[in-house]
Amino acid sequence: MGRYPAGSPGWRDKVTGQANYGADFSLPGMITGRVLRSPHAHARIVSIDTTEAGKLAGVRAVVTAADFPDLPSEVVAGGESPVNYRYISCNAIARDKVLYEGHAVAAVAAISAGVAEQALKLIRVEYEVLPHVIDVRDAMRDDAPLLHDNLYTEGVDPKPTKPSNIAKRTEFLLGDPAAGFAESEIILERSYTTQPVHQGYIEPHACVASVAADGMTTVWSSSQGQFMVREFCAKLLKIADSDIRVLPAEIGGGFGGKTTVYLEPLAIALSRKSGRPVKMVMSREEVFKASGPTSGGVLQVKLGARRDGTLVAAECELAYQAGAFPGSPAIPGCMTAFACYDIPNARTVGYDVVSNRPKCAAYRAPGAPMAAFAVESALDELALELGMDPVELRLKNAAKEGTRALYGPKMPVIGFVETLEAARAHAHYNTPLKANQGRGIASGFWFNIGGQSSAAVHINEDGTAEVVTGNPDIGGSRASMAIMAAEVLGIDYAKVKPLIGDTASVGYCFLTGGSRVTFATGKAVVEAANDVVQQLRARAAKIWKCEVDEVIWKDGVAHPAQGQTDTRTQLSLAEIAASAARTGGPISGKASLNVGGAGPGFGTHLCDVEVDPETGRVTVLRYTVIQDVGRAIHPGYVEGQMQGGAAQGIGWALNEEYVYDDQGRLQNSGFLDYRMPVASDLPMIDAVLVEVPNPAHPFGVRGVGEVPIVPPLAAVANAVARASGVRVNDLPISPPRLLAALMK
């Protein structure tokens, strides 16, 4: 790739406070929306009386579920995977029952936040409080309180006749696990638990919605996909896609948590009712209580191996908490659990389980970190029992090109072995440790995805260019788009301005997630830029009065093709752009693709910790992330993704958890009590970029954002076990929990 500055387009705005996030937007006549939320973990809504709230001076609108279409419960195609819009609707505003503390019950729009909050107190809701269930194991019991009377477990035969909190059972099978275990010389079986953890984005959910008199709806919001917001709001409110325009705000973190809607449909309903633009912003408490964390899980792992370390058989059963509505990432958990390894006989079984918690949402590599925690921890114990180096054990069994994955296909070109070899050769792996210190290693996998993306490249009169795509920039993707366009056009990166279009100004793009944007949208950018290059060659041919085939494009300049003997003048992009009006008009290229061939990603992490045997406190001393990144378009941002994922995974391993009281009410809905790692908790995280190009992308790109959160849970746990001699299989490994284990 060519030269480019270290920062991203827009970085100045971010560091100087000029960037416009969701809460920064204002419109004339705008009013403020607030949400009334359930104080109960589980209750039937007997009645809602909004009369007094509606009469309060300054209140412009009050809405309840009665203001939204009562959608059928059905799974339909949506985005890149199936969606049940009833679940999304009933999560945005409760219908008949509240299913968790914080569940939205009504919303008010008023001339000020104070008036809106006063109005909330005037809404009378009569509840019939029901027994609740928080823990996934309790929710799976036959006598557990049922969240949904019409939820029957899918994936079991015969079809159940009684409803259950288990929404779905899924199984993946390869070979004959029973035979594999029978021929194993060593079998290791362990149980693990992980806690639901929040994505912890700094910017709370925020939006402004304005419904015009003709019904045309405009939404400004912070999300991971303006097209997702349009699609979900259109379905929830039965509005035509063409009657909603969604403009993306700058986004202050998402990590998967902004791949759905919470406030937007409420703001639209309030605006429609009041005739005024409505702004809604969640508080941090609302973010914790009413937006989705990722699932916690209960996992059992069984590994069978020969004495030489060859894995012969493996099984994993996992139950993931979905929160109030089905949709935990149990399936990707099953698919990723053993994806790093070539195991001829394997089975995974997953359960998607509802309980009285906020509906879970995506979080980096959904489902994979929990499964990797279990499998990679068990592998570490296996290495100890076999007396093998943990890197050598992984190398002996590592998946390579052609390895059959448990979920079906053979692996394409991948770079897992290269990450293990880099780990083994890294200075970190060979540095001596002191007393109470330990080193953990763990690996991880994520599929990476492609999907639908559009891009347009416009050439300006002065030879500069705009690249327009439809993906919010949550990890530096604007820089990547500009770099790839500049590379194809052959011009300086500084001359390319990347922009994020709204839903009316660029073709459809699936949301920013799944580590897809630099790969899939980047491929659309490359095609759009190639389209421009073809047009530039045609313009040069027109000027030179020759055939297009006689013009080649190199380094931003049209040249006569090799073999031509005349001495025609070269034409730069700027020169061709300046004469565009006389050679056919504006020069613009575009591409809309449904991109396949995302190259799977693998990473291996090294973690050194020190354990204080008197307090149980764990200090992370050194951390190295090694990852196959395909080809790094902007290495700085790739390193940032790797460091960020590791930091979040370390928090997941050591401190983060939701604490509920016996009434199912969340006790730690703020950053003071929900302990995410901050800069002073962590060492500088080293990032080692292994580049095994993905042959399905013109520049070899693989997604990089998901993989780095997969290994840290086990890397930290393995380090703690080796430092302390005590293995904690229940996350988080917080000081009280580790101290209790040390004192046993």
Binding site: E80, F447, G513, G514, R516, N594
Partner: protein, 63 residues
């Protein structure tokens, strides 16, 4: 593993539906396809080689 004569993924799905009625409906939503190890979100558009291996798997998203 099932062997089917087809030169496109769409033809393969039609052949599979003839042999296993309901197959096409079952994969109409929420399914991705891997052809020779590469996962594609739009199976109908993909051509197949004579020895191609096709796997159907749950559609994937991410965070």
């Amino acid at each position: 593993m099932v062997e089917v004569d087809a030169d496109t993924c769409q033809a393969l799905i039609e052949r599979m539906d003839e042999r296993f009625p309901g197959f096409a409906d079952a994969i109409a939503t929420g399914v991705a396809v891997a052809i020779d190890g590469q996962i594609y979100p739009d199976p109908l558009q993909q051509d197949l080689r004579p020895d191609s291996e096709v796997c159907f798997l749950p559609a994937l998203e991410g965070g």
